[in-house]
Amino acid sequence: MTRTVTVQYFALLREQARRTEEQIATAAGTPAALYAELRVRHGFTLPERALKVAVNDEFAPWDHALHEGDRVVFIPPVAGG
C-alpha cells in the first residue's frame, strides 16, 4: 500500500534536497521509514536522532501512522535567537 504525502524542507535539509517541497508516493507508513527512504534519495547528512518531525503542522512521534495527503516536515536542530 502506498500513500502520497507532501514533504516540506527547511534549512540544511532544503539545501541538500535542493527543493523546498515535494510530493512523494511512498510505501513508508511512518515518518521514520519515510526519512530513511528520503535520506538515501537526497543524501541527507543528519541522522534521524538529530531531527524532530512534524505531521500536519504539529510535532509527531517517529512511529506516527502516515495517511494519504499528510504534510510532513523533518526538523533539523533549531537555532533561533
Partner: protein, 142 residues
C-alpha cells in the same frame, strides 16, 4: 495578551513596547537578540534565518502560555525576525510586564531560552572568509 509572531520585516521595538503599556505594571523587562560579528571565534558577515512558520507560531505561543502560567506576570510577547540580517540587526525581541520585577526577569529568560531550543527557526551564518553553515547542524552520520 500573549502574542508570538514570526516577521519577515524589521521589528518595530517602540511599537512592540508601547503595546504593552499597563498601569497595573511596575516592571517591564525586555530582551533583544542582536546579530553579532563573531561566533565561536569566526568572523560573521551576515545571518539568514528561516522558520517553519505555522509550527513556530504554535510552539512560540505554547512557550508564552507556559510563562504566563508559571510566573506572576501581566503580559509577555515575542517576535522573531526571519530573512537576511546584517550585523547589528535585531533577530528576536521578548517583552514582559509584571507587578514586580523579579517575575518579569525570570519569565523573559525562560521564554528566550525555550524559543532558542524549541521553536523551528534555523540560522545560517555567512562568514567573512566566504564559508557558511547552519548552526547546530554539523552532525556526522551515526
Amino acid at each position: 495578551m500573549p502574542h508570538f509572531a514570526i516577521s519577515s520585516q524589521p521589528l518595530d521595538t517602540p511599537a512592540l513596547r508601547a503595546a504593552m503599556n499597563d498601569v497595573r505594571a511596575g516592571g517591564f523587562v525586555c530582551f533583544e537578540g542582536w546579530v553579532r560579528d563573531s561566533n565561536d571565534g569566526r568572523r560573521v558577515l551576515r545571518l539568514g534565518y528561516e522558520a517553519f512558520v505555522p509550527l513556530a507560531e504554535k510552539e512560540g505561543m505554547r512557550i508564552l502560555g507556559e510563562a504566563m502560567s508559571n510566573y506572576p506576570i501581566f503580559d509577555i510577547r515575542c517576535v522573531h525576525r526571519i530573512g537576511t540580517l546584517e550585523l547589528g540587526d535585531l533577530a528576536v525581541w521578548v517583552g514582559v510586564s509584571s507587578q514586580h520585577r523579579g517575575a518579569a526577569f525570570d519569565a523573559c529568560r525562560y521564554v528566550i531560552d525555550e524559543v532558542k531550543s524549541r521553536v523551528p527557526i534555523w540560522k545560517k551564518e555567512h562568514y567573512v572568509d566566504g564559508d557558511s553553515g547552519w548552526i547546530n547542524c554539523h552532525i556526522l552520520p551515526a
